[in-house]
Amino acid sequence: MASSATVTANQLIIMAELKLFRTWSSPFPLRVVWALDFKGIQYDTIFEDLSNKSSLLLQYNPIYKKVPVLVHNGKPLLESLVILEYIDETWKQTPLLPEDPYERATARFWAKFGDDKVLPSIWNVFIKQGKDQEEAIVTAQENLGFVERQLTGKKFFNGETIGFVDLAFGWLAKLLSLWEEVCGVTLIDHEKFPLLSEWIQNFADAPIIKESWPPRDKLITKYQALLEVYTSKEAPK
C-alpha cells in the first residue's frame, strides 16, 4: 500500500483534473473534502451559491441540482456517500471502508441510518415547536441511542481510526451542538450519551477535520435565520 507521503506516477495521472463543487456551509460536500484530504489528494474547489447556481453545476447535476459534485477528468460523481466509495476505490491509501464484505455492509447500513433517520429526526427537533417538538425529541433520542450503542468498545465507528461511517456522521460533531444552542433544546449530554459525546470531541478535534469546519459564528447566524423562517411559518395567524 502506497504511503500517503509518496505520490506515484499513476496517482499524478489520476489526480490530473479533480474539481469539487461545494457551498461554504453544507455538511454533505464536507464529507468529500475530508475523504480527499485524508488521502492527500489535490483538487480544485468551486464554491456555489445555491440561490444562484452556476451553469456548470446544473450541467453536471441536472437531476438534483445540488452539491456536492466531484468532477474527475470531466466526469461527474454525485451523492456524497456514492462519491466517498468512488474515492476509496480510486485512491487506495488510507482506506475508508473495510475489506471484509460483512463489515462493509455494516458500514453502509449505518451511513444510511444516519442519513435516512438520524439527521431528519434531529432536524425535526430543530424546526418544530410545542408538542411536535416533544415528539421529535423522543424519536431523535431513540435514534441517537442506537448510534451510541454502535460505539461500544470503539473510539471511532471505524475502530481506532476515522472511516466511512465517521465521515457519514461527521455533521453531528459540529452541527448538533450548534442547533441545540440556536433552538434551545439539549438532545445529548455526557451522562446519557457518554460514548457519543466522546466521539464528537475526538472527531471534531481530529487533524484535517479540525481545520475544515466552516466559521461557527457564520453558521450560527445562518441557522438562526433559518429557524426564524420556520417559526414564522408555524406562528398562528
Binding site: 437531476i63 460523481l77 476505490e89 462493509r104 455492509a105
Partner: protein
C-alpha cells in the same frame, strides 16, 4: 441443521424481491422465511432491532439489513458469478447513483397512487411518470440499465414491476402508454428465470392491496 443463508421476507415486498432476485442470480440456496408483519417473529426483532423490517438476510447467523445493502453484500461475497456491478469505479458509482435515485424517488410516490385519491393521487401519478421518464432516458437504447447484462440498477427497479398492475388499476392510467421503453425493459428482465421466479403475479399483488386497504380502513 442450521441453514447458512436465511431470508426473512414478506411476499409482496418489492424490497424483499430484490434480495430474492439477487440470490437467484448467484444460484445461492437459502431458506425463505415468510414474516407476518402484524405479528413479527422474535427472530426478525432480534436480527433487525433498529428498523424491525424485512428483508433481512442472515448469513452464518449474522444479519444484513436494508435491501440494497444486502444486494451489494451478496455481490461481494459471491463475487465469482454474475457480478451486479461493473468493475471500474466510475461506472460503479454511476450504478450506485441510479440505484439511490430509484430508492429516493419511486416508493413513496408509487405508494400514493394506490393509497390516496383525488388531487394527491393526481400529483403522485404525475411524479411517478416524470421519474420513470427520467429512468427511460438513463436506459436509452441499452437492453439493461447495467448495459449488456442485467445488474444492480435492474435489480433495484424491476421488483416494482410486480406492482404496476396495482398502480395502473388504482391510478387509472397506462404506464406502457407513458413509458413504453420501461415496459419493454421489464419484459426483457422477466425472461430471466431469476426474475420471473422471484416476482409474484401482478394480479396477486393487486388482490393483496385491495385486501390491505380494506383491512386498514383505507378505502
Amino acid at each position: 441443521m442450521a441453514h447458512e443463508v436465511v431470508l426473512l421476507d414478506f411476499w409482496p415486498s418489492m424490497f424483499g424481491m430484490r434480495v430474492r432476485v439477487a440470490l437467484a442470480e448467484k444460484g445461492i440456496k437459502y431458506e425463505y422465511k415468510e414474516e407476518d408483519l402484524r405479528n413479527k417473529s422474535p427472530l426478525l426483532l432480534k436480527m433487525n432491532p433498529i428498523h424491525k423490517k424485512i428483508p433481512v438476510l442472515i448469513h452464518n447467523g449474522k444479519p444484513v439489513c436494508e435491501s440494497l445493502v444486502i444486494v451489494q453484500y451478496i455481490d461481494e461475497v459471491w463475487k465469482d458469478k454474475n457480478p451486479f456491478l461493473p468493475s471500474d469505479p466510475y461506472h460503479k458509482a454511476h450504478s450506485r447513483f441510479w440505484a439511490d435515485f430509484i430508492e429516493q424517488k419511486v416508493y413513496d410516490t408509487a405508494r400514493k397512487i394506490w393509497a390516496t385519491k383525488g388531487e394527491e393521487q393526481e400529483v403522485a401519478k404525475k411524479e411517478f411518470i416524470e421519474t420513470f421518464k427520467i429512468l427511460e432516458g438513463e436506459l436509452g437504447e441499452k437492453p439493461f440499465f447495467g448495459g449488456e447484462t442485467f445488474g444492480f440498477v435492474d435489480i433495484a427497479l424491476i421488483t416494482f414491476y410486480s406492482w404496476f398492475y396495482t398502480y395502473e388499476t388504482f391510478g387509472n392510467f397506462s404506464i406502457e402508454a407513458e413509458c413504453p421503453k420501461i415496459i419493454a425493459w421489464a419484459k426483457r428482465c422477466m425472461q430471466k428465470e431469476s426474475v420471473a421466479n422471484s416476482l409474484p403475479d401482478q394480479k396477486k399483488i393487486y388482490e393483496f392491496t385491495v385486501w390491505m386497504k380494506k383491512y386498514f380502513g383505507m378505502d
